[in-house]
Chain length 310, copies 2
């Protein structure tokens, strides 16, 4: 049994959704209609030894736990508003460090901490639950249509490159390390994309090769992605090369960039690029069926058949 089987078995256990539920489990956030407002809700957990190691200090972990949840709200086109934070830490000093990072992220993203829980544990574990406000209609994973272009914000592979630099104990590469430790969710760009009416949106947490598959499955479409088109920065390329890694593959599979992947017609992407204040790069297009990663004219098999759960 893998994570996918667990999710499939679980969906059989779900009770009927109450009328407030506009979007149930299965997207970046669930969406609720409460009073006159529309609210996105999600949670994400970071565990020591799985999501980070000794190279992350407790404040980094607290900051990132907030940021990755903010990114889920950004991917619906929402504004992050409130969080709950549960932290399990081996000692009170570590817990305090986590909450200092949480508070810093709250200030940066305009999020208010409503409370949570603190407990002891051998492994530092931080779970954040978030409520975000959506003006208008949430952008779902299911809205991609054949003929749409696929575009990503910012850059890909920087976080994975930063992680490699941290894991290998490389000097320098501070920008890449910071991209991994303190990701910068694209809240303003997500809201702009929603206003402009993009078809589908998802945040790039697992990596493009996996996340584009989520969009295609929910939208019942396929896609063609050009590895050479992925926006990879010069320092990320340099680090990848020094470790014998293919920068395009790193950018497609590394994950944790917390950029946005959007599908939309070209004129919508042009309008988004004008307002975004960061690069919006076309990386492929939506097709009728099949996930097709290419480099030039050649199919890259290991990505086209890539399985996140294996």
């Amino acid at each position: 049994m893998n994570e996918f089987d667990v999710i499939r078995k679980l969906s059989g256990l779900l009770p009927p959704a109450p009328p407030e539920v506009l979007v149930p489990i299965g997207d970046d956030c669930a969406v609720l209609r409460l009073g006159g407002g529309t609210w996105a809700a999600a949670s994400d957990m970071l565990v020591s030894g799985r999501h980070f190691k000794g190279w992350a200090d407790p404040a980094d972990v607290g900051y990132k736990a907030v940021a990755v949840n903010v990114s889920d709200v950004a991917a619906m086109g929402g504004t992050p508003r409130f969080i709950l934070v549960s932290g399990a830490a081996p000692d009170p000093e570590t817990a305090l460090g986590v909450f200092e990072g949480v508070a810093e992220a709250c200030g940066e993203f305009g999020v208010y901490p409503l409370g949570g829980d603190t407990t002891g544990a051998d492994a530092l574990t931080v779970d954040v639950a978030i409520l975000g406000e959506i003006e208008g209609v949430p952008v779902l994973r299911s809205g991609a249509r054949p003929g749409d272009l696929l575009a990503v914000t910012g850059e890909l592979g920087a976080s994975a490159a930063g992680l490699l630099a941290l894991e290998e104990g490389r000097e320098g590469f501070e920008r890449l390390k910071a991209r991994h430790l303190r990701p910068r969710p694209r809240v303003g760009t997500g809201r702009a994309a929603a206003r402009l009416g993009v078809g589908a949106m998802i945040d790039l947490s697992d990596g493009l090769a996996s996340d584009v598959r989520h969009v295609c499955e929910r939208s019942e479409v396929g896609c063609r992605v050009d590895l050479d088109a992925l926006p990879v920065s010069e320092d990320a390329r340099r680090l990848a090369a020094s470790l014998g890694r293919d920068p395009g593959v790193l950018a497609a599979t590394g994950g944790e960039d917390y950029e946005l992947l959007v599908s939309a017609p070209e004129h919508v992407l042009d309008a988004l690029a004008e307002t975004a204040g960061l690069p919006v790069t076309v990386v492929g297009e939506v097709t009728g069926a099949g996930i097709d990663f290419r480099r030039g004219g050649d199919v890259v098999e290991e990505l086209s058949g890539w399985d996140h759960f294996s």
Copy 2:
């Protein structure tokens, strides 16, 4: 530094509360005004080795993680509505077991699961965040007034007795074990207490000796509690006696009963007892200052001075 110091330092890091926040951190739940409605929000985390051991199966852990959050909403006089669940488990089978318990609790308490996160970890860890709906005004910890009586719902010490039976590997005592593994939050009674206008309310998670202190601190009052008045069941007394434990002390300090402690004038408690469908037992009264646990006429020093954080 202890948990109390952490919380004190953290309150200095809080940004100003947005206008939606009616009750910030520091009560059983935070309370938000969203659209036309009033919503309670809280989260609680359970960690293997701290909150449970091998005697709890994954479904018990999932069930309890929901129940303890439902209890927080009950303590505000609210109705539990939506949860997010983040689970870290050593293998997918354990994760599935947790979510089966979560689904069972959702059915039992009328709560809808909006989603969450699943990840790997050495120690099973489950965090639940909850949204509850409040009709009318939330009941806070800060509303106790000198002259009010203090009463508890149901029974105390059963969960602690059940935990002892589980830890000691005792045969039998199934009712007590179930009280520990699958607590029964008092949602209907909490709502009735809110409608009847009780002064203060808290759920008994840490144990009466600690939780009554939270009420007194927030209300800036004291209390007198009679250990002999605590409602302790015959089987809990029998188990305590067999282990040489004082049943009154066990009931006051054991914790995890998830009953409600309310402060109110006598006629309000009488009305509550009529509608509650379970015992509502007067255990003491609110005074001007000082925490005073007594047995007959004698002060019980170790409880009157009891410090949850030491």
